[in-house]
């Protein structure tokens, strides 16, 4: 049907055209030609714009080629080339579109599987036209959630920009303050020449912090000792060609010396982290003279948080227990959530300052350290408290991470302390290592905190967090059982975040999916590195995940949800880093959505042509990269970030190093 008359459309409050749902762009996937034809006709009768497809692979490539070309996907469960649930996950991760499952099978467990994989709805065949008339509600719902995220993140961006500028200065000054504790736990097995995933292809030069790279980093830090772990020296020690001091510096930001042993309760971690960041920002601002962003919107909590959190984090980080993962997690958390509407604009950089290296500062600030140390489990590090899913991050070039972190802190008043693992870290005396711990004990191998920048680009942080999956995945509550990977990072799925108070709202909204997803099931096949899979694992169902050691149920939506629809990133680039695709989202998602809404009708023609082509192409694009294998950390990160933020995902920007979350106290 022709939607050419869309000129008439106007944007209502929620950005929906007046003609909505007329012209809703539906992609229907079913290997049964009879059903496909019937569905097509029914949808056309509903005045939707239908594209039909009888192969999941083709559907994916259509979607990848045309990221903003569809509003909703309807897919059969049983298909020969790909399981419908897998497709569901892929879509959730990459494109963040609402997906409706359907099947002739109405058994409860299949329906449940749909729910757990994040389907917006489940239709039983034979599908009646009445059931199809209402599918637009899922689109609206999802959009609403995304917009909400965008709004929240918007305010942070400015501050972040500022922060970014100060970043270098910060680093140099804070370099000596780093409280990196060597972590005996983390083995430094990486070879020096570890290749990084593609960074060059990223828009901004970003380092993809693979697990190996991160390990090198950690080793260097440990070797130097917290106090001396300045980016420059770390860089020298790591001796990775192509790595810049700046890369290291930003990566360093992620680890505020919080020993993190893997938290299961990612959300807690994130919340704590945020709080910590906030405090740090308060501290750091004082010390470093940063005025920006982190504190951004004059969040009162900063001051309070910084002392405590900063210490905690630092201590924890120092012990090396808080690997990148935790940082990532924190960041993710912070990114994901906009702590307060005021928007913490702290760029990632700031966060860094806040955390890690400010031991001396923090110490001086507060006597909280001693308290912290005593309290291993108490809320010491409220780093992630209330990690917002959306970070109100302003378009911070630097990296949403920082801002997200800030946000995290800021927004949440929650008192759940993030407990980083502080097993035995005496440094922790400053900070209870609790941060990392408890929460994740459930089995989140490592939470990757993907902070989603409200502005959607997680991308700001160029370093990827390596996700290593921890063996203990059990996450409680929100936790997703992640496959544990002895090596590394467990990604804290946003799920954890979701459950956080602050975060939940955002995340949930945006996601609309239940927590467990099998996001990267396919990736596993390709992964070259353990971590890839692991990370991916966040979203896996244990069973489906081949690699999974544990079962990670990360809702794919979490990861990717948000920004995909608008994200332009596109799979296209990826040969090496899949992540990219996912994450551009961050940036665009928020805004993109609005645009895309408006453009839906406009794109009818595009869809039409696409449709025609799509049907003829067996594998339309080669873009299946995401799923086939190369999930780079970026992808994962972005996915996670996306999830967290509930916004578009800024994939490339945010890189998380995986770190085990199992120590995060719940």
């Amino acid at each position: 049907m022709n939607l050419g008359g869309q000129g008439a459309k106007s944007m209502a409050g929620d950005g929906v055209s007046d003609l909505f749902p007329v012209g809703l762009r539906v992609l229907v996937v079913d290997d049964d030609p009879t059903c496909l034809m019937i569905l097509e006709k029914m949808l056309q009768n509903c005045l939707y714009e239908v594209t039909k497809c009888n192969r999941a692979e083709i559907a994916l490539s259509i979607l990848r080629e045309n990221k903003n070309g569809f509003d909703v996907v309807i897919s059969d469960v049983h298909m020969p080339d790909m399981d419908g649930f897998k497709l569901l996950e892929h879509i959730g991760l990459e494109m963040d579109l609402p997906v409706i499952m359907m099947s002739a099978d109405d058994s409860k467990d299949v329906v449940m599987k749909g729910v757990t994989h994040g389907a917006c709805d489940y239709l039983i065949k034979p599908v009646r036209i009445e059931a199809l008339r209402n599918i637009w509600q899922h689109v609206v719902r999802k959009r609403k959630n995304e917009w909400k995220d965008v709004e929240q993140s918007g305010s942070i961006e400015d501050g972040e920009r500022q922060q970014k500028q100060l970043e270098d200065a910060e680093f140099s000054s804070s370099g000596n303050e780093g409280n990196w504790r060597s972590s005996k736990r983390r083995k430094d097995e990486d070879d020096q020449g570890e290749d990084r995933d593609d960074t060059s292809s990223l828009k901004k030069p970003r380092v993809v912090w693979s697990v190996e790279l991160h390990q090198q980093f950690v080793a260097a830090v440990n070797q130097l000792g917290i106090d001396k772990a300045v980016p420059k020296k770390i860089l020298e020690l790591m001796n990775v060609p192509g790595l810049t001091r700046e890369n290291v510096a930003s990566h360093l930001q992620l680890f505020p010396n919080v020993p993190y042993r893997g938290t299961h309760n990612y959300s807690h971690f994130v919340q704590k982290y945020r709080l910590y960041l906030r405090r740090l920002s308060g501290v750091s601002q004082h010390q470093s003279g940063l005025n920006n962003s982190f504190m951004g919107p004059s969040d009162p909590t900063f001051g309070s948080i910084s002392s405590l959190n900063g210490l905690d984090l630092q201590a924890l980080a120092a012990t090396g227990q808080l690997p990148a993962q935790s940082l990532a997690m924190l960041q993710a958390a912070s990114l994901g959530r906009s702590p307060n509407k005021s928007g913490i604009s702290m760029p990632f950089m700031d966060q860094r300052n806040l955390f890690s290296f400010e031991n001396p500062k923090l110490r001086s600030r507060e006597g909280q350290q001693p308290q912290m140390s005593n309290n291993s489990t108490s809320k010491q590090v409220n780093l992630l408290h209330g990690i917002p899913t959306n970070m109100n991050m302003q378009p911070n070039p630097h990296g949403s991470q920082s801002s997200s972190l800030m946000n995290m802190q800021m927004s949440q008043p929650q008192s759940r302390p993030v407990i980083f693992n502080d097993t035995g870290a005496n440094q922790i005396s400053r900070l209870p290592s609790s941060i990392a711990q408890p929460n994740l004990s459930n089995g989140m191998p490592s939470g990757v905190v993907l902070a989603r920048d409200g502005s959607n680009s997680v991308s700001q942080a160029s370093t990827m967090v390596d996700f290593s999956v921890h063996p203990n995945t059990d996450f409680q509550g929100n936790s997703f059982p992640l496959p544990t990977n002895n090596s590394r990072v467990s990604i804290i799925t946003s799920k954890g975040l979701l459950q956080e108070d602050g975060i939940n709202s955002d995340m949930k909204g945006s996601r609309g999916f239940p927590p467990s997803y099998d996001i990267f099931g396919d990736l596993q096949q390709h992964k070259t590195q353990d971590w890839e899979l692991q990370n991916v694992g966040l979203t896996f169902d244990a069973s489906s995940h081949s690699k999974t050691q544990g079962s990670i149920n990360v809702p794919p939506s979490v990861l990717v949800n948000h920004g995909f629809s608008s994200s332009q990133n596109n799979v296209q680039n990826r040969s090496t880093s899949v992540g990219k695709v996912m994450f551009s989202v961050g940036e665009q998602s928020g805004h993109g959505n609005v645009q895309s809404m408006g453009q839906q009708l406009d794109s009818v023609l595009d869809c039409n042509s696409l449709r025609v082509k799509a049907e003829n192409l067996p594998e339309a694009s080669g873009q299946n990269m995401l799923f086939h294998g190369q999930f780079s950390q970026e992808d994962l990160m972005s996915a996670l970030l996306k999830q967290q933020e509930g916004l578009g995902v800024a994939s490339n920007d945010y890189f998380f190093d995986g770190f085990p979350l199992d120590n995060l106290p719940v």
Binding site: P33, T34, K125, P126
Partner: protein, 151 residues
């Protein structure tokens, strides 16, 4: 044949198909989807259904002839047939498929054979009847009349 007569005949025939359970409400949905922009919609869908079903039935026959029976595969096929038959409203075929799936679950070879026969039988019946009905309705349409719908 006179238009009125044709229409009555078609109507009654259709009604009998519903009454005996050969067709169900889903078929009415299909017919309601048909409109001027797509006047042959029902016929197209039905012929697609026939093609697809025959293919599946052949696959099923072959699968049951194997030395080593792959119940999973059979179940998947039956599931699909169940889906398509339910989508066109071929109720008896659908029911036969449900029974067939139960046999698959139990890995009851004998039962599967029997079920396959049953499904084939029902399929042939519905095929025959649908072809008859559609032919009648086509004649009505060709003669300028409107197809009587059963509410």
């Amino acid at each position: 044949m006179e238009m009125c007569q044709m229409r009555v005949q078609a109507f009654e025939y259709k009604q009998s198909l519903f009454r005996e359970g050969t067709l169900d409400a889903q078929f009415t949905q299909l017919q309601q989807l048909q409109d001027e922009s797509n006047p042959d919609f029902v016929a197209e869908v039905v012929s697609l259904f026939f093609e697809d079903s025959e293919k599946i039935l052949n696959d099923l026959t072959r699968a049951l002839e194997q030395k080593c029976i792959d119940f999973k595969k059979i179940d998947a096929n039956v599931h699909q047939l169940k889906g398509s038959s339910s989508s066109v409203g071929a109720q008896k075929v659908k029911n036969a498929c449900i029974t067939f799936r139960n046999c698959c679950e139990e890995q009851n070879i004998e039962g599967c054979f029997t079920c396959l026969q049953l499904v084939k039988q029902e399929y042939l019946l519905v095929k025959n009847k649908l072809e008859t009905l559609l032919r009648m309705e086509q004649q009505i349409l060709a003669a300028g009349g409107a197809v009587p719908m059963i509410e």
